[in-house]
Subunit: 172 residues, 2 copies
């Protein structure tokens, strides 16, 4: 079965973005394991807030990947050339997606979607790039009540700039 991999950057205090969604504090001077990760996936899952933020800031969606955006807003075209809009809750759709053929599936974010899929026990791997910073406020990863979940550390790396990449298998 295809694996769903949460792969996100956080501050040490567990924020993925400033209150307005800004991620200006992330290291962008290097790859930090992204290309290895990208080689393992062919599908990207995005929440609607993250999608809107990417459009607002002129960020491209991930070419060569299937981009799915989960939205409760009605009236979206189901496909606009780059992304496919999926109405309603994500869990059932992602559960089906995992049964199909393909490479791994990137749970890109944001926080609401990540929490929803962890709650539905659909996430197989959690990878966080912990930035050496307390952001102090913002949008929390794991911001809602979740089921207690045992993890197994499968990879770790500290980069010279103090970024720490931690990858865990979700135990069941």
């Amino acid at each position: 079965m295809r694996r769903v991999k949460l792969f996100v950057a956080t501050s040490l205090d567990n924020y993925i973005a400033r209150p307005d969604g800004a991620v200006d504090w992330l290291f962008t001077d290097g790859d930090y394991g992204m290309s290895d990760f990208f080689a393992s996936i062919d599908t990207v899952l995005l929440g609607r807030h993250t999608h809107d933020w990417m459009i607002k800031h002129g960020m491209p969606f991930y070419r060569g990947m299937k981009n799915f955006v989960f939205t409760h807003q009605a009236g979206r075209d189901t496909y606009d050339g780059h992304v496919e809009y999926v109405p309603g809750h994500a869990a059932e759709f992602v559960s089906d997606l995992k049964q199909q053929d393909g490479k791994s599936i990137w749970l890109c974010g944001g926080a609401e979607l990540a929490d929803e899929l962890i709650r539905a026990k659909l996430v197989d791997e959690v990878s966080v790039a912990v930035h050496p910073r307390l952001l102090g406020r913002g949008i929390r990863l794991f911001g809602t009540v979740l089921p207690e979940t045992e993890l197994k550390l499968i990879e770790h790396k500290a980069w010279p700039n103090g970024l720490v990449s931690l990858t865990y298998e979700v135990m069941r």
Copy 2:
């Protein structure tokens, strides 16, 4: 000047305890760097909730150390043989303490006291022992709005059981 070191265990989702204060999920089968750390300190700072939890669960205070408990409750004896009670806010007291002679000062917790001293920019080092677990709910370290704080990773270690110890210098 003496250094104040926050040294705590967290879950990957940034909790230091269950909602009722319980820490049954912590690894207790090893030392995990505690004795090295203890050798560097002679003073312990505790919040009142942590203090009450320790008494309720029959946990000893730290012998051979000065234990200070910060409390807004009136009527405490200032010294009960094991701990000294400090009324009111912690920042001024800790600021004075740092000027005195002695070894480093352990900011043991809980979360409220840690947040207060970080906000007052009195913390020099942040050390977290990240347990391989999403606790899902509980008492958050860094649970309140804090000033954005740049950190420098100075030590890291992954233990065979998946515990990851990260130590940062607080940059000013």
